[in-house]
Symmetry: C2
Subunit: 512 residues, 2 copies
């Protein structure tokens, strides 16, 4: 390529990169894997961990705090309840979980975006929870509702992103007790992909269900799953009233909960992989079984968030091998329970989207995909241990997710894939660039990265020696500039806005 | 941590980081995996690929150029030789390969550094071949013998690096026809780890064998393997005289060859995974079987270098999914042949050690480790599609290799690993930081990265908002400053230097 290309040509290429970031590898609304599961734990190991989880459930038990209704449910089910501590006879929880579906459909308002969670399927969802956002120009700052909407827009435009997610960043500019209206509405209005609901208060979960009923119809929502929400366990071995309240609302409404032990090993669990696994399994079994006591057959996902604590700085670390072992074995445990599994993500501890961020993210993402995660929260945009949603990291991660989709397809063994005609045509010492098979297949043969610069060193120099984060910044801006809102039934939109306005008037703003 | 720490404290931490980079995770001279192989190709797929390779060998054949001796060997073995084209009856090559060992020991001059190549073992070796080097301060420049020695020193000091490698960079300041003396000597003198030999001319291979005989003893070298060298196939389906010459020298001397189809799919093979695999298998079978015709029982490794060509820029691309599928299936094919397998590396196309480099490197390294590579060339230092050896990337990759060692150990299922006492001791709602199990295990419980910054955002800011590459630069300098040459028998050193001096006088310098 000429070193003296004009600015117009460069702009054209940037636009093409952005267009590729949106559309590359959109072949399906979620991934159906055609490669085997990577399983890093032996059968013997799984049996030991399961036996230890049973022991924890029988001997130590789990605390369900400040929720008499839940304690009564456990008494009725045959558990041993002393104060808020619940101990479970062997087999009780596994028996209750037989009514939970091994896979389920989460409906999107655009039916072409429906996802099936469980089995051989993989659904990617964005980063969840950060109070800060970061971009190359603006640096790090508190998130706002505008940032929230921007991340919803990016997730909507990104082909490899299957889900709109939940708290893509905290809109810190809105009052804590009302921001969920604007967050859930943003997912409903700026995207047509499936979304997650509010879990920070039972009333906010109920608002999510009501707004979903406006969007999908009351009857439809009662009979179908339209939101999947994140219920973290207060590890070790505690469910608090807030999470229990949200779990009950969603299970009663036939909506999916992800019951996720939230574990920084060394603080919330033992400093060992097998110990962490036994505890997490015990916690997840108890929380998941509770959903079936509330509404048998309601969908529930076995989740785990696992990081190793830095014993030096006290911070969580990411991309290290021990959590990979936890995740892979937990995926095996979930398959033995015949339940969908949530874990993984593009995790990193780095403060910026540099090499640390990328090594750590790939080291989290790839083993998670290979191990058979079904629902992957935090699959794009995660920075700084989850404190920051990064614009550039979001589009960099999207590129990686698109590659995972290709990887999961496995090897094309068709006649065309075998390419024996090409080998016969070319023969020893020639090249394949011009042969018929190459001409017919080169456009789609290899995944083409949206972020990577594969030009010559000299070309890269002429173009300003850009780092990956600088290319990602350009793509992000192009994407947001070209965003187009998906169509929506305007009557539903009005009804949603009216509901939100009415509810917001019913109680004063508060930051609790 | 205090934001106002003194410079002395920072220096102390940098020194500790460097010390960790050297010694972390030195537990064994190579990795013995305790986790299963990730296998991305179905049994049916492997059978199709093997049948197609047989068809290529029978119908198209392989060219062995400018080497009458090799053609005569093939005639004698029962192959069909027409001109330089050799076609193989079905089963001939697999039959010949029955004498090749499924694993072998490559001896190092320090016997504690011996590596066993094959089976469940994994040996990491540095980047091979770049004409350029790069560091953060000096930028990109041609490599020199000083750079070469520096990379040998870094590989020697790095615990997770098992092998000294070969052309860690090209010492472009030395004449082409004599630089191999200084290169092989650098491996012998500045390190005591196993090394690779020269392959750029049969005479240079012979010099490597002679120098090895000085170092190890003539008899020992004839009976044992002390160097493992890289024989690239000129794909598609050609072996040239230069590589054949080196292969013959090494096989005759009982030294190991890695027979590696060098494939940019789309140019040197079809634009498809299954087509690339069939061709690469055919090529490798022919080259490997040749070693057994020369000396039955000599060690040989099934290698593959696989990258997808960018059909836009014509450059090789890295970290993309298609070469991962090639690699994983090729590892399965090698295991079916019961032969050691070489592939993978910390590959990237990026010009600098940024996020692109790290995503691509991790996406190359992790699947390669999981898939069961036995000998991994290019496992640290690779930059810019192999054009550049990077100082900072080298130590960044070393950190990743150390993590792979932990991952390959799998889950500790001992009583201590199960940690049930800790769970009983702590119970619901408490934390594990102070419990007896944590106190006893925290020092070694989790891998601690040498490169990652896991401090708070504020601490990171106070310390200058460093990128990973800047931290790596500091570590590199610390390591080189603290390098200490391993002990050596001075009589052997003198003999080596005398041999080199004598040989260098026997012919004029040349850059061919």
């Amino acid at each position: 390529m000429s070193a003296g290309r004009e600015k117009g040509a460069r702009r054209g290429r940037d636009a093409r990169r952005a267009a590729r970031a949106e559309t590359s590898a959109i072949t399906q609304p979620y991934i159906i894997r055609n490669i085997p599961f990577t399983e890093l734990c032996s059968e013997e190991g799984l049996e030991i961990i399961e036996a230890n989880a049973d022991t924890i459930l029988q001997e130590t038990g789990i605390e369900f705090r400040d929720d008499e209704e839940v304690l009564q449910l456990w008494r009725n089910a045959g558990a041993d309840v002393v104060g808020e501590r619940v101990r479970f006879p062997k087999g009780l929880l596994r028996g209750l979980l037989k009514t939970a579906p091994s896979e389920f459909t989460q409906h999107a308002r655009n039916p072409e975006r429906n996802v099936v969670i469980g089995g051989k399927n993989l659904v990617f969802a964005p980063v969840y929870g950060p109070p800060f956002v970061r971009d190359l120009n603006g640096g790090r700052r508190y998130g706002t509702i505008e940032d929230f909407q921007n991340f919803v827009k990016l997730a909507y435009m990104a082909g490899p992103m299957h889900h709109s997610g939940g708290t893509v960043c905290e809109p810190v500019d809105l009052p804590v007790n009302k921001r969920h209206f604007d967050m859930v509405y943003a997912h409903m209005r700026y995207s047509d992909k499936p979304y997650m609901g509010s879990v920070t208060h039972p009333d906010r979960a109920a608002d999510t269900v009501t707004m979903s009923a406006i969007l999908f119809g009351k009857e439809f929502v009662d009979q179908n799953t339209v939101c999947t929400s994140l219920i973290n366990v207060n590890s070790p071995m505690v469910f608090d009233a807030m999470m229990l309240g949200a779990l009950k609302v969603y299970a009663r409404a036939n909506q999916a909960s992800i019951v996720s032990p939230f574990i920084l090993s060394g603080a919330m669990s033992p400093v060992s992989v097998a110990g962490t696994l036994a505890q997490a399994l015990a916690e997840a079994l108890a929380g998941m079984a509770l959903t079936q006591l509330i509404r048998p057959g309601s969908p529930v996902i076995f989740g785990i968030f696992s990081s190793a604590l830095s014993m030096q700085s006290g911070a969580p670390t990411f991309g290290t091998p021990e959590p990979t072992l936890v995740l892979s074995a937990a995926a095996q445990l979930a398959r033995r329970l015949k339940l969908p599994f949530r874990s993984g993500g593009s995790f990193c501890g780095s403060k910026i989207p540099d090499a640390q961020a990328a090594y750590e993210s790939a080291s989290s993402l790839i083993p998670a995909v290979l191990s058979g995660v079904n629902f992957m929260l935090h699959s794009a945009g995660w920075l700084e241990g989850g404190l920051t949603s990064s614009y550039e990291k979001f589009v960099m991660d999207i590129d990686q997710l698109a590659m995972m989709e290709v990887l999961c397809k496995g090897i094309d063994l068709s006649e065309n894939g075998q390419a024996m005609d090409a080998i016969r045509e070319v023969g020893p010492g020639a090249h394949f660039l011009g042969c018929a098979h190459t001409q017919a297949n080169f456009e789609s043969a290899f995944y083409r990265s949206t972020i990577a610069d594969n030009n010559s060193f000299e070309q890269w120099q002429v173009e300003g020696e850009m780092r990956a984060v600088e290319r990602a910044s350009k793509i992000t801006k192009e994407m947001l500039a070209s965003y187009q809102m998906p169509d929506m039934d305007m009557a539903k939109d009005e009804e949603l806005l009216a509901y939100i306005a009415k509810r917001k008037e019913q109680f004063p703003d508060s930051n609790i």
